[in-house]
Amino acid sequence: MPELDDLDRRIIACMQGDFPVCETPYAEVAVQLGIAEDELIGRLRALLERKVLTRFGPMYQVERMGGAFVLAALAVPEVDFESVCARVNAFPEVAHNYRREHVLNMWFVLATETQDGIAEAIAGIERATGLPVYAFPKEREYFVEMKLEVRQ
């Protein structure tokens, strides 16, 4: 795991909140953290380069734009895992993808701009991998809020 100091932890906690929409938002956040604007920008750049942060920006809700998010899974034979993974990840509709311990060992989220895009992406992945895609569209959302404190 990468080494993080106290300031990194405070920045990660702070940046999981609502980033301001104003002319100089980094300066505003830097004041809250008691550091200089250029230090905040430099730290953020380093955290992104080190992949401690996977992304920083607006989180778009494709459903609110007429599109769809669908969780899907594949049962990939172990020997083919890497090649199947490369083929699945090559689809721009695959927003994220996790390996999990189960017969269904590859779980990914499809994000498309239209409802029809999901079926097209699933058909494309089935053609590219030769494996059936299990689709688990959400029927109801009870809670979503991904904010995690730094544990280390």
Partner: protein, 157 residues
């Protein structure tokens, strides 16, 4: 949503520019004013098109090395009431009802839990199990062992 909103999404989906006036930098790329960029982003936040503007940590890198997707086969008559309660647990970060895929997949309730260890996730799963009680027939925890991709939404031009 118009063409300018689309252009704005295209310009920001990879992330915000790391420079003192990020919205001015986006404005230059999209060909509108900084004030327009801010007004449109505010409107998309208000409409829920943008859930929030912020950072997504790699949870492995910040010490949350165990990630368990807990899945439950819950009585259809009770799943919505219980799903709200499971979603209300402080440690659950995502909670959804999804269709079963019988016979391979009997589960209709999904709740994500995180921990510094699998033991910690298992304790949390046990708390969910107690809450669901006899309404739950069978369950499983799928631990993730690797992030294979994490880019978020990508729209085309």
């Amino acid at each position: 949503m118009d063409e300018i909103d689309r252009a704005l999404i295209f310009a920001t989906q990879g992330g915000l520019p790391l420079e003192p006036r990020p919205y001015a930098a986006i404005a230059e790329r999209v060909g509108i004013s900084e004030q327009d960029v801010m007004a449109r982003l505010q409107a998309m936040l208000a409409d829920g098109v943008i859930r929030r503007i912020g950072a997504v940590p790699n949870h492995y890198a910040i010490g949350w090395t165990a990630n368990g997707m807990t899945v439950w086969d819950v009585d259809d008559a009770l799943v919505d009431t219980l799903g709200e309660q499971v979603g209300g647990l402080a440690f659950v970060t995502h909670c959804y009802r999804r269709p079963r895929a019988l016979p391979a997949w009997p589960y209709n309730l999904f709740a994500m839990v995180h921990g510094a260890s699998r033991e910690e996730c298992a304790v949390k799963a046990e708390e969910i199990r107690r809450l669901l009680g006899t309404a739950c027939r069978t369950s499983d925890i799928l631990y993730s062992t690797k992030i294979l991709k994490k880019t978020g939404l990508r729209i085309g031009r």
